[in-house]
């Protein structure tokens, strides 16, 4: 039978992290191969084509489109300033002239003799891409960007909002079960990536934003509070562009769910260090999960390890990702071959899992298990 393989979230103490830093359009790569870079360094730049302003000269001057060409004062390729005259009617004995004035500065790109439309392109918009993590340039993608690599601790969350940020880790809770409420958010949260607990209240998140926290990493959060933060319903899990001051990363799921002990322990071991966080999530083809990267300065380079794709086997450590055992960890003890009937009445492939918290063995659909990836 084909392997049951549900890629889990990565919680890895030491690995090589590769980040591709790509421009949205072709441009210039300004770093060299093997160059050491800091997170804030710009690695590639480009100019996005400027905004386009269409102006219908025929309508403006009340003429046929074909007549426009003869009365143009500017030709395609000319530079325009806002207020420049693009075309002018001859008027009567030089009087009563009508003028077509440029509404924007830029370059006159085209003029159509069929529609009478002129296209003015405004100045290009410069765009640059930063390295995002401290590391080394390990690949140059000509005209497009680079790959930056570093030895780091790497933790993935399940869902996040808000984009790339950098800050110092501050552990907020004593353990994985505590709720983060307003009282725990203090002035010294400014500039920090706050970590801990099973649940973050909406008020606590709002206060973290007010206090200038860079990010919050927590086990669970209420789905309805995402709407309260964003002001709209999040229909599909494609995030990262939200205009919020504090990036939020949920490690386990919606509701109150204890943060996985190993996630908490790993981040706690790095308290005080600078980390790169990104809430961007895309649960579609080319899945993207939110991440916390802690570069391990001075660490010797590791060899790249291929992800373990061997699938769930007896002995595999798993996390249950759906009720009724949602959030609990355990170990697979058996993989029955036959389909088994679930309480819902459906037949599914199952795994027998010993749940750590209760010590009991239960049959769970394999689809509701996630491997814990430590490599």
């Amino acid at each position: 039978m084909a392997h049951a393989y549900t890629p889990g979230l990565k919680v890895i103490p030491k690995t090589i992290v590769h980040k591709t830093r790509r421009l949205p359009l072709k441009g210039d790569v300004i770093v060299k191969l093997n160059q050491e870079v800091k997170a804030e360094d710009i690695v590639a730049t480009t100019d996005l084509p400027g905004n386009v302003v269409p102006v219908n000269l025929a309508n403006m001057l009340n003429l046929e489109a074909s007549e426009i060409i003869e009365i143009l004062l500017k030709k395609p390729g000319d530079t325009l300033e806002k207020g420049d005259i693009i075309a002018e009617t001859p008027g009567i004995f030089g009087l009563f002239k009508t003028k077509a004035i440029s509404p924007a500065s830029g370059v006159l790109e085209t003029i159509s003799s069929i529609t009478g439309q002129a296209i003015i392109r405004e100045a290009p918009v410069p765009v640059s891409v930063q390295a995002y993590i401290n590391g080394k340039v390990t690949e140059i993608i000509p005209d497009e960007g680079v790959e930056v690599s570093t030895v780091a601790s790497f933790v993935q969350g399940i869902f996040g909002i808000g984009g790339e940020r950098r800050g110092e880790i501050k552990i907020l809770t004593k353990n994985t079960k505590t709720t983060i409420n307003e009282d725990l958010i203090t002035e010294d949260c400014k500039g920090k990536v706050l970590v801990g607990g099973s649940f973050l209240t909406h008020k606590a998140f709002m206060k973290a934003q007010r206090m200038g926290a860079i990010g919050v990493v927590v086990g669970g959060f209420n789905y309805i509070d995402i709407k309260k933060i964003l002001g709209y319903d999040l229909g599909v899990a494609i995030t990262g562009q939200e205009e919020i001051k504090t990036t939020l990363i949920i490690t386990e799921g919606f509701g109150k769910v204890h943060m996985a002990q190993q996630t908490f322990d790993l981040l706690k071991s790095h308290e005080g260090k600078m980390v790169s966080v990104n809430g961007a999530t895309q649960i579609r083809a080319g899945v993207i999960r939110p991440e916390i990267i802690v570069p391990l300065e001075g660490e010797k380079e590791l060899k790249d390890k291929k992800a373990d794709l061997s699938g769930i086997e007896p002995g595999t450590e798993v996390r249950v990702i759906r009720v009724p055992y949602f959030g609990m960890l355990g170990e697979v003890t058996e993989l029955p071959h036959e389909l088994q009937r679930l309480e819902s009445g459906s037949f599914a492939r199952v795994a027998k899992v010993k749940i750590y918290e209760t010590g009991k063995e239960v049959l769970l659909p394999r689809a509701n298990l996630e491997m814990i990836e430590k490599k």
Binding site: L25, A285, L342, S344
Partner: protein, 605 residues
């Protein structure tokens, strides 16, 4: 290879979550489904190669069938002895499917025809641009730059009309310099299917910035659509450009013996084949993880010709898009189908968790009931969108006679008439894999609200996409497997439309079941009942109350043949136009449980 010589067929459907494989073999003179296998789709990291999932699914088929199909990383074709299969074919919706922007001049005319062509080819339409869509030129340019579709379809103008508007649209397209979604190294494909007189000008404007194809006008005159050439071109470009950019698809294209078809395009094919063969009206739905497609073949009453329509509700689905169902339907509409009380915050969190872990399945009965409640709303909303879109051509002048004076129909009216519907077919995980077929029947009845007498069927194991692409290659094999193994006839729904006062008789029925049981019974408004009966002809007499319609007109008795099926004959006297659920939560839960028991939805726990 000659068609008759084909002994075995392997067909896969690479969905956004799972890749499904079916093995069809010739047994005696007919083709039958033998086994089915599935594996997670591997378009995403860490695999990034769709063929891995295909091979995993084929491996499962191989193991279940107990004979060799693969040799290393290859599917053995043609079959040699007991090894391999004669042909291998595939459909795909992985990697987000085919995403298009369409454009026309008048929103309700050429733009709508362009949308129909794109949808019919299996695309997700990201936006419809039109000269009169109310957006300013710079807003349109900004929108095109932002969207990054896989392909653009530009239409507009009849072949004798003026060219100015369509040329203007091409100028906006040129100015926006659109970039394709996948791969920054290639030019975006644009198909021009508008006024032929403007072709040269369009080539001048778009020839350099895009990979332009010019095909015959899709609306050559106002009264006629010619969607075929544009649809075919979309299929070709889908293969050449979009598929070729997705991870592993070049390899997959080399493996298949026929072009890979977009999944919804393939389901549409098979729906049309059924409608044509059986000369019936069909309404079909395929509810997936990310999108829900609705297909219909209804008659255009003016011309008495069958018209096929497909709509895709791009963000209504049961996993990736499940939160969007909540956002679009609103919480009260989902809650109204849940037959127990549940905390609202808890329900929202459960829905959010399904969105972020889309491959999980309900383990408890409570979770199953919640998912089926959400499915009802996803189906209902998709159907509303379909009814709005499946309309006659707009802008057409109609000749009217004096007898039409009292007929209020206008051009552009919906073709979907539930009273005329012969068969309602459900497909997609939540329907095909419902633990009891009774649940699937209830879900489609609750969301589509069929009227009069309607047969209900489901796709047994969700294999319509594979049969759709097979219909193109080997129609006999496709229809045989479709009738014998794919289409599960669940029974007939008898649902009068109209209202009577509470407590008054709504309908009376008389029929004799195949086991000899005579049924002679009256119903009041709000009742449901199930008569278990196999798929056999049953002569029935249905007498509706005054003003109530079961197909022959208000108050008119209907004598007709109805069929049982795996579920049976479902009497749905809950009323239509309007169909209402009690507003009081306690009463509503009580009613839902009562109907559930009547239809035996959750028996044999």
């Amino acid at each position: 290879m000659k068609l008759e010589a084909i002994k075995s067929i392997l067909a896969t459907d690479c969905g956004s979550t799972t890749t499904k494989a079916i093995l069809i073999e010739k047994q005696g003179d007919e083709y039958r489904l033998v086994v089915r296998g599935e594996a997670p789709t591997t378009v995403e990291a860490p695999f990034e190669d769709v063929t891995k999932g295909v091979l995993n699914a084929a491996k499962e088929v191989e193991e279940l069938r107990g004979r060799q199909i693969l040799e290393g990383d290859k599917i053995v074709t043609p079959q040699k002895g007991d090894k391999g299969v004669d042909i291998y074919i595939s459909t795909s919706s992985a990697g987000g499917g085919l995403q298009m922007v369409v454009s026309g001049i008048v929103k309700a005319m050429s733009a709508e025809s362009a949308e129909r062509a794109a949808l019919g080819a299996g695309a997700i339409v990201m936006d419809v641009l039109a000269s009169n869509d109310g957006r300013l030129p710079h807003e349109k340019i900004k929108r095109i730059r932002h969207l990054r579709p896989d392909m653009i379809l530009l239409s507009g103008g009849t072949d004798s009309g003026n060219i100015k508007s369509v040329v203007e649209m091409s100028e906006l397209l040129k100015a926006s310099n659109p970039k394709p979604r996948l791969g920054i190294n290639y030019k975006i494909p644009i198909i021009y299917a508008g006024n032929k007189k403007a072709s040269e000008q369009i080539k001048k404007n778009l020839g350099k910035v895009s990979d332009l194809s010019v095909v015959p006008n899709l609306r050559p005159i106002l009264e006629r659509e010619n969607l075929g050439p544009a649809r075919d071109k979309i299929h070709d470009l889908f293969m050449e450009h979009v598929m070729a950019q997705a991870p592993g698809y070049k390899k997959l294209m080399d493996m298949t013996d026929a072009p890979i078809m977009p999944t919804p395009g393939a389901v549409g094919e098979i729906m049309q084949v059924i409608a044509k063969k059986e000369k019936i009206t069909v309404l079909g739905v395929d509810i997936g993880g990310a999108t829900t497609d609705v297909f219909s073949v209804f008659k255009d009453l003016e011309k008495d010709t069958p018209i096929f329509n497909r709509t895709v509700s791009a963000n209504l689905g049961m996993s990736y898009s499940i939160s969007n169902v909540l956002a679009s339907a609103s919480l009260p509409n989902i809650l109204r189908w849940i037959p127990f009380e549940i905390d609202e915050i808890d329900l929202r969190n459960r829905i959010g968790n399904k969105m972020i872990r889309p491959t999980t399945i309900p383990q408890s009965l409570e979770e199953l009931k919640i998912e089926q409640a959400i499915a009802r709303e996803a189906l209902r909303l998709s159907f509303i969108q379909h009814k709005e879109f499946a309309v006659g051509l707009k802008g057409v002048q109609k000749e009217r006679t004096i007898s039409d004076t009292f007929d209020q129909s206008t051009s552009g009216e919906t073709l979907v008439n539930m009273m005329d519907l012969d068969i309602l077919v459900g497909s997609g995980g939540v329907l095909s894999h419902a633990p009891r077929r009774h649940q699937a029947a209830r879900m489609v009845i609750d969301s589509f609200l069929p009227e009069g007498i309607t047969q209900i069927a489901v796709d047994s194991i969700f294999m319509m996409p594979q049969l759709g692409v097979l219909a193109d290659v080997h129609e006999k094999a496709a229809t045989e497997v479709f009738n014998k193994d794919c289409l599960l006839r669940l029974g007939t729904c008898v649902a009068p439309a109209g209202q009577v006062r509470p407590g008054k008789e709504y309908m009376h029925i008389r029929f004799t079941l195949p086991d000899g049981t005579a049924v002679d019974k009256s119903y009041t408004l709000g009742e449901m009942e199930l008569f278990e009966a196999p798929y056999e002809e049953i002569m029935a007499e249905i007498i509706p109350a005054r003003g109530v319609n079961v197909g022959a007109g208000p108050g008119q008795t209907v004598k007709t043949v109805i069929y049982g099926g795996l579920v049976g004959i479902i009497i749905d006297a809950r009323g239509r136009r309007p169909f209402v659920l009690p507003e009081n939560p306690e009463e509503r839960v009580k009613k839902l449980q009562e109907w559930s028991t009547a239809i035996k939805e959750f028996e044999d726990k």
